[in-house]
């Protein structure tokens, strides 16, 4: 049971977000900009969601890792099984060398900001990462160290049915974060 009374049936972060609209607005705006608006050819929406799910997995946050894993799978092609392979071992996963280098940085951020080394940054640059790619990777990983703690620190409810996550993944990938809770036109 959650540590504070939350509306019934809302999964993961959606519960506390309904509880606290004043903080929910910037939280959703941050996710929207970082994961969607800022996406470009250098760091795609699917790759950003992969970094989010990878960081959440390292934090052992079931809801966020599964949910953002479903978004990444939807965007990268579910049959490609990229999320599961990245969780298992990012060094052998079928992602670009640049992504591998950025995932190393994300893994350091997850432990603590000071674990990011100049060597890790140089390695990412050598594979073509720009300042913006590095900035966004660090902030995505840092932001999920927040979202994960918000979800787990309040002991929120996480659905177990994989179909629920597949549906959320598609909705978040296509409609995004700012509009997620708003009714959609028929």
């Amino acid at each position: 049971m959650a540590h504070i009374p939350l509306p019934d049936g809302l999964p993961g972060i959606v519960g506390p977000m309904a509880y606290s609209p004043v903080t929910t607005k910037p939280l959703n705006e941050l996710a929207e900009v970082l994961l969607r608006t800022n996406a470009n050819d250098s760091l795609t929406q699917g790759e950003r969601e992969l970094i989010a799910s990878f960081t959440s997995r390292r934090n052992d946050c079931f809801f966020c890792s599964t949910c953002h894993g479903a978004v990444a799978d939807y965007l990268l092609g579910r049959d490609n099984n990229i999320v599961a392979q990245t969780w298992e071992d990012p060094t052998t996963a079928p992602v670009s060398d640049k992504m591998k280098a950025l995932l190393v940085i994300a893994a350091s951020v997850q432990i603590g900001g000071k674990y990011v080394t100049p060597e890790q940054i140089e390695a990412a640059r050598a594979e073509g990462a720009t300042d913006r790619d590095i900035h966004d990777t660090v902030l995505i990983a840092a932001a999920f160290c927040m979202f994960n703690r918000y979800v787990d620190g309040l002991a929120t409810w996480a659905p177990e049915n994989p179909a629920v996550y597949a549906e959320m993944g598609e909705a978040l990938a296509t409609r995004g974060y700012v509009n997620y809770n708003e009714p959609q036109p028929a």
Binding site: H3, I4, P5, P16, Y19, S20, V22, T23, K25, P26, L27, E29, L30, V33, L34, T37, N38, D60, I105, S108, V109, G112, G113, K114, V116, P118, I121, D131, R132, I134, H135, V138, L139, A141, A142, A143, C145, M146, F147, N148, R149, Y150, V151, D152, G153, L154, A155
Partner: protein, 185 residues
């Protein structure tokens, strides 16, 4: 030296929100909402909120955030400013309320591993008078500083060492709050 090219001499998160204002805006809006408004039923004042932020930043060993939010907390506690350093030094013996101590215990668990925030820790805070909003806000303040701290350290931003620099920052945070710096076009 920062890992990416940032404005010379601009410290900590300020250099990052100037570099990328599109993420800076929600980051500052979140700080403003959490540290200056909070949940409707919350009993925490702004000084308490800044103290939780400084406490978590200390646990994460992020000197810039710890020093700046400690300075904001001192400014806001005014004539009781000494409680800030006493709390950062040792929560158990600090002259703060049992409620705030119980909430700092929750914040400490959020920082270390949020899954360890137990029913007992939450019940203890309630016994000392913490409201639902106090618990919510404490968890999110602690969680958000696990983000801000990693952002500031993960890009190796400039950390001033002169205490006077933080005193000025603390006064600005305590009066103006969290507003995005104006960036020259």
């Amino acid at each position: 030296m920062p890992h990416i090219t940032l404005s010379d001499g601009v410290p900590g998160i300020r250099s990052l929100v100037m570099y990328r204002p599109e993420t800076g805006q929600p980051l500052y809006d979140l700080a403003q909402a959490l540290l200056r408004a909070g949940s409707p039923d919350s009993t925490l004042n702004d000084a308490d909120r800044e103290l939780i932020a400084a406490f978590v930043s200390k646990q994460n060993q992020t000197d810039f955030c710890m020093n700046s939010h400690a300075a904001a907390s001192r400014y806001l506690y005014a004539d009781q400013r000494d409680v800030v350093d006493q709390t950062l030094d040792d929560v158990d013996t600090a002259p703060i309320s049992a409620k705030l101590k119980a909430l700092l215990a929750i914040a400490g668990h959020v920082q270390a591993d949020a899954r360890t925030v137990s029913d007992e820790l939450v019940a203890a805070a309630r016994t000392e008078g913490a409201s639902e909003g106090d618990i919510h806000d404490t968890v999110l303040i602690a969680a958000s500083f696990c983000m801000y701290n990693r952002y500031v350290d993960g890009l190796a931003t400039f950390t001033p060492t002169d205490p006077a620099a933080y005193e000025a920052m603390g006064e600005r945070m305590g009066t103006v709050g969290y507003q995005l710096p104006k960036v020259k076009a």
